[in-house]
């Protein structure tokens, strides 16, 4: 959910950007990173831990922790918290199996 009124800040949420997440159509705004737009659309589960497949959400949101890696337009392991949302982006949580060896 977006903040509508704020005593200090003004947010410009006028220019919409259409994208999809696991095939579902979603809308974000210009200036959003992929992670911000997903979060606003109610997505909390961003990735799975490598070995135990535990759900992982956003943790640091500035590119340090690696919890928000996703598949973007077919490219794997994209840090969604640093990557700006673009019109028509296809975002998915599907990743290849990691070999433990």
């Amino acid at each position: 959910m977006r903040i509508k009124e704020h005593p200090i800040l003004n947010f410009d949420h006028t220019v919409k950007i259409q994208f999809s997440y696991n095939g579902k159509a979603m809308v974000g705004y210009k200036g959003d990173t992929i992670a911000a737009a997903l979060f606003d659309n109610g997505v909390r589960h961003f990735s799975d831990s490598v070995v135990h497949k535990r759900p992982r959400g956003l943790y640091c949101a500035i590119g340090n922790c690696g919890s928000c890696y996703m598949n973007v337009n077919g490219e794997e392991n994209v840090k969604t918290c640093l990557t700006l949302l673009e019109e028509g982006m296809k975002v998915s949580s599907a990743i290849s199996e990691v070999n433990d060896d």
Partner: protein
């Protein structure tokens, strides 16, 4: 390979200030920033800074970022790389920069590392559930993107970040259920804590998080009281319903590039963990590689700015570049740092720097 007089890694307060001084001294500078804009974590800081005028007291963090960025306008010899990650630093001052799916090699006659810090995590059962965030992440969501991180937030940690972010949550119209602090004393400035109390936020002292509960995401947390030896007190577990738990238990320096380059590192808990050993000129054990800001020890953005200026000045000086005001600037900046670290609030950093062998008092 692209050769420059100076390559700075990190476009936050320390990196921006280092760039300005080095450019004034006539160096060619490349500034490498991972995010899509400069300013580092200042861009999400809506509070007015404390301190003195030379560190922009009474100015909001994001406005300070604007000032520092504007100061770099008009320098022909500045190259800014955005959405560019430095993934390698080598002892010969070669850097590998990853940008737009390509790797680039740079070599600086000098290198300044100003990578900042990352938020620490807290150990408890289920601490990896979605809905548990670093307090900084919550601040990013709210203040940069205008997104509510949750409807009922619990904050862990009463340091300045925990206190300030709690206040900013309330400003954004979000309920802060309570603030949990394991110690018996507020960690940050009392003025911030008092503000929260006046707004009706419960501050639970001697309390920590026992476990988080939830299937795919956070639904509840269980707190527990601690005795004076930090041991859990039986039968004091309390369940609290929440959809966002913010962890604000300190920061650790992002030391990886310097560790990789083989600079001597020191483990100093008062400075936040692994920091590079450095001289009073901010030079690491690798000649012409400098470090400044939170990566050399966790402090405020105010001191990061001053440290950045000193590092820029020293990088120039050691290569024979003459800053027009080198002499007076060096003295003024060192004095400013002393003032920033005075008093009871500076005790931890003074102690850390002493352990690291940088001050001898």
């Amino acid at each position: 390979m692209i050769k420059r007089d100076l390559v700075i890694v990190g476009g936050g307060p320390a990196g921006l200030c280092a760039a300005k001084v080095a450019l004034d001294a006539g160096m060619s500078v490349t500034l490498v920033e991972r995010f899509n804009r400069l300013g580092g974590q200042l861009i999400k800081q809506t509070h007015k800074f404390f301190g003195s005028e030379s560190q922009y007291a009474k100015t909001r963090g994001y406005d300070i970022a604007e000032i520092l960025i504007k100061e770099l306008d008009g320098y022909g010899d500045l190259e800014v790389l955005l959405e560019a990650t430095c993934v390698g630093l080598y002892p010969d001052k070669v850097l590998t920069i990853y940008q737009d799916n390509h790797y680039f090699k740079y070599q600086g006659k000098s290198v300044i590392i100003a990578t900042g810090a990352s938020e620490k995590v807290l150990a408890f059962e289920n601490n990896d559930l979605p809905g548990i965030y670093g307090a900084g992440a919550v601040q990013t969501l709210m203040n940069i993107y205008g997104i509510k991180p949750g409807s009922e937030v619990v904050m862990v940690g009463s340091g300045n970040i925990g206190l300030i972010v709690s206040y900013q949550l309330i400003q954004a119209g979000i309920k802060v259920k309570c603030l949990v602090e394991a110690a018996s004393k507020i960690g940050g400035y009392l003025v911030h804590a008092s503000k929260l109390k006046r707004l009706g936020v419960d501050i639970l002292m001697n309390t920590t998080i026992k476990r988080a509960i939830g299937k795919e995401k956070l639904e509840k947390i269980v707190t527990v009281k601690l005795d004076e030896n930090w041991q859990e007190i039986k039968n004091t577990e309390t369940e609290i319903k929440t959809d966002a738990l913010c962890i604000s238990v300190g920061l650790s320096p992002l030391h990886q590039l310097m560790s990789m380059a083989g600079a001597k590192m020191l483990d100093v808990s008062e400075l936040g963990g692994l920091v590079p050993k450095k001289t009073c000129d901010y030079e690491t054990t690798i000649e012409h590689v400098y470090a400044c800001g939170d990566v050399t020890g966790i402090e405020e953005a105010s001191s990061a700015m001053v440290e950045g200026r000193i590092a820029g000045l020293m990088a120039a000086k050691h290569l024979g570049f003459k800053h027009p005001k080198a002499f007076e600037l060096e003295e003024t900046l060192n004095n400013q740092l002393c003032v920033l670290r005075q008093g009871p609030c500076g005790e931890k950093i003074r102690c850390g720097l002493k352990k690291a062998g940088e001050i001898n008092d």
